[in-house]
């Protein structure tokens, strides 16, 4: 367990003409579950490799508990990692795989047995103990790989590189819950890299949104969702993302553009944002009425709102915005409820 500090980290691949990461600063507290959320090519994997010790940062410093570890290699940093696809020692059985990181560091027999038993119980894999790793299913393998990362209780940091990519959707949720539970039990610091916002928002205490080599915003899932600090965050997080309109459209003077979530607006024929319903998508019911997403074509592009889907496509209607976040030059400059 450790407090992780990134101080103005920059990284450029040898021979590349541009920095892959630049000016990246971040503080992660003891025992925090932190998610790095970003699209492909945002630099997530590079950042992860910097944390795991595969690369050393070109500029800046990486501190574990205020000790500079920037130049240390992986085995000296005392980290554990779960990869996108399960990485196990395939000729060993499950118990031996789990014991391996302990054994290489000279742990005693009693300690090894205790930890392996604990992990098997937590992950519910006691029945697999004696199976060879190469006879397991993909999901079981990934479960064991997670166990292998969790087995040492004194690691500074556990890195998870999109660990649920290989797992079928039905079990994703369960594995994420298990991860979270073990994380809370052991209080270990975890960094979870993903491009899946649902995973990030449901797993982490705090989320950092990464794009083009920099962090746009760090905050709790609620903060990220409710008041995105940058237009990209508003657009990227949420399904669908934020709607954006010029501030003059609803007569507001703050900022340049306003962003509002689909649930922050209602359909109201007298609303300021006039348009035509182009499609509806039922996502559930509310008060036994079909409820979901209604999309309108307006002068400001397509806008989506969460409402009763009991409207005909082609109807002329309008939106009324109840809450918005204002942006100027893509940065957040304010947020407000509309009365």
């Amino acid at each position: 367990m450790a407090q992780i500090t990134l101080e103005n980290i920059g990284f450029r691949y040898p021979g590349a003409s541009e920095d892959t990461l630049s000016g990246l600063s971040l503080d992660i507290a003891h025992g925090e579950a932190h998610a790095l959320l970003g699209a492909s090519g945002a630099g997530k994997t590079t950042l992860l490799n910097l944390l795991s010790g595969l690369f050393a940062p070109t500029t800046g410093k990486l501190l574990f508990d205020r000790a500079d570890v920037s130049q240390l290699v992986g085995r000296e940093r005392n980290v554990a990692q779960v990869f996108q696809f399960p990485v196990l020692y395939e000729s060993l059985n499950v118990a031996e795989n789990l014991a391996f990181p302990l054994r290489t560091r000279g742990a005693g027999k009693a300690e090894i047995t205790g930890r392996v038993d604990y992990i098997c119980k937590q992950l519910d894999i006691s029945n697999l103990r004696d199976r060879k790793a190469n006879t397991l299913s993909l999901f079981e393998k990934q479960l064991v790989a997670v166990g292998k990362a969790l087995v040492r209780d004194n690691v500074s940091l556990i890195l998870l590189d999109e660990p649920l990519t290989a797992v079928e959707p039905k079990i994703k949720w369960r594995l994420r819950q298990t991860l979270r539970k073990v994380q809370e039990d052991t209080g270990v610091t975890m960094i979870y890299v993903t491009h899946d916002q649902t995973e990030a928002l449901t797993f982490a205490d705090r989320v950092s949104v990464l794009t083009a080599g920099g962090i746009l915003q760090t905050g709790t899932p609620a903060e990220i969702y409710q008041s995105p600090g940058h237009e990209f965050v508003g657009h990227f997080v949420g399904s669908p993302g934020m709607n954006f309109v010029p501030n003059s459209a609803i007569g507001v003077t703050t900022g340049e553009r306003l962003g509002f979530r689909p649930e922050w607006a209602i359909i109201d024929d007298d609303g300021p944002l006039k348009g035509v319903v182009t499609r509806t998508r039922v996502q559930g019911t509310r008060e036994s009425e079909p409820y979901g997403l209604v999309t309108l074509a307006t002068d400001f592009g397509e806008l989506s709102v969460r409402a009763s889907t009991d409207v005909q496509v082609g109807t002329n209607t309008a939106l009324r915005v109840n809450r918005y976040v204002a942006f100027a030059e893509k940065q957040k400059v304010g947020e407000s409820e509309v009365l």
Partner: protein, 301 residues
């Protein structure tokens, strides 16, 4: 469905699922080629092996007589033991050496293609040329190796000393074929995804543990192929001892194929030679089968 034309079903079968057997005609050339190149010659040999052939017109059916004779022939036993010893020796050297060489090749870099070409060179040289090269190279009077070793004070002469002839043959085979194992192993090593190495590094695994637990299990497939190829090839070795010493000194390097050639071409004992060939063929088949099934059955447990 009811709105579809009535002949739709028929048309579908006709156009998408041809039910005639004309495709077999396409296979015919292969059947013919295999018949002429393998099945018919093999059957001829089987036919010879049960006859005593005196001349073109005189022959007698002798049943399994030649098989009995071959299996009880002490010279066959000796050649067989020498053959097994030779194959095991080259396998024991070439497989570990090949892996070691493969581990030494940088995975990426400007040098890699050159190293691979250099390694592949011996594989491109025909057997008899390799044998001739070594025959001259190792000669104690004019060969660089032979003269050099003798200059070191070691009396080395492969034409007189059985051990020296053996060592020369083993060295020749190792020189000729280790590259094959190395290239196969290198291909296997480059196919290991990087996260396996990263994970081992983070786990604090030693170099030996990385080799034992990450690399070796993933080299299994290519190593099985390498061992099978080298086992079959070394079991059939003929040209090298023939050119080097003609199977000598004495019978020291007379392996199975050498003995067979003496019988068939030297003495024209076609019946016994044919029986010998069949036994020889079955032995290679048996060895490969034993090796393969033992490896595969270990997989399943």
């Amino acid at each position: 469905m009811s709105r579809l034309p009535k002949n739709r079903k028929w048309a579908k079968v006709k156009s998408y699922k041809p039910q005639n057997n004309r495709a077999w005609i396409g296979v015919l050339p292969v059947v013919l080629i295999v018949a002429f190149s393998a099945v018919i010659p093999l059957m001829t040999v089987v036919n010879y092996s049960v006859q005593d052939i005196l001349d073109f017109n005189t022959r007698f059916f002798v049943g399994f007589e030649w098989y009995r004779e071959t299996l009880n022939d002490p010279r066959f036993h000796d050649a067989f033991v020498r053959q097994v010893a030779f194959s095991l020796t080259v396998l024991l050297i070439e497989i570990p050496l090949g892996i070691a060489v493969a581990k030494g090749i940088p995975k990426t870099g400007k040098l890699t293609p050159f190293i691979i070409i250099l390694l592949a060179l011996p594989l491109l040289i025909p057997w008899n040329v390799v044998a001739t090269i070594w025959q001259i190279y190792a000669r104690p009077d004019i060969g660089l190796l032979g003269v050099g070793v003798n200059a070191l004070g070691i009396a080395y002469n492969y034409t007189a000393e059985p051990t020296h002839a053996w060592l020369t043959l083993v060295a020749m085979d190792v020189w000729h074929w280790t590259s094959l194992v190395a290239l196969l192993a290198f291909a296997g090593l480059t196919a290991i995804p990087n996260p396996y190495y990263q994970a081992a590094e983070i786990d604090g695994a030693s170099k030996w543990q990385i080799f034992r637990l990450v690399e070796l299990p993933r080299l299994r497939g290519v190593l099985i192929i390498a061992i099978l190829l080298r086992l079959m090839d070394s079991f059939m070795i003929y040209t090298e001892p023939f050119v080097l010493t003609g199977g000598g000194p004495g019978n020291a390097t007379t392996f199975l194929s050498q003995y067979l050639a003496t019988m068939a071409v030297g003495q024209f004992d076609l019946g016994p030679a044919a029986a010998f060939s069949v036994i020889y063929f079955l032995f290679i088949l048996l060895f490969c089968w034993l090796f393969y099934t033992s490896v595969v059955s270990r997989d399943e447990t």
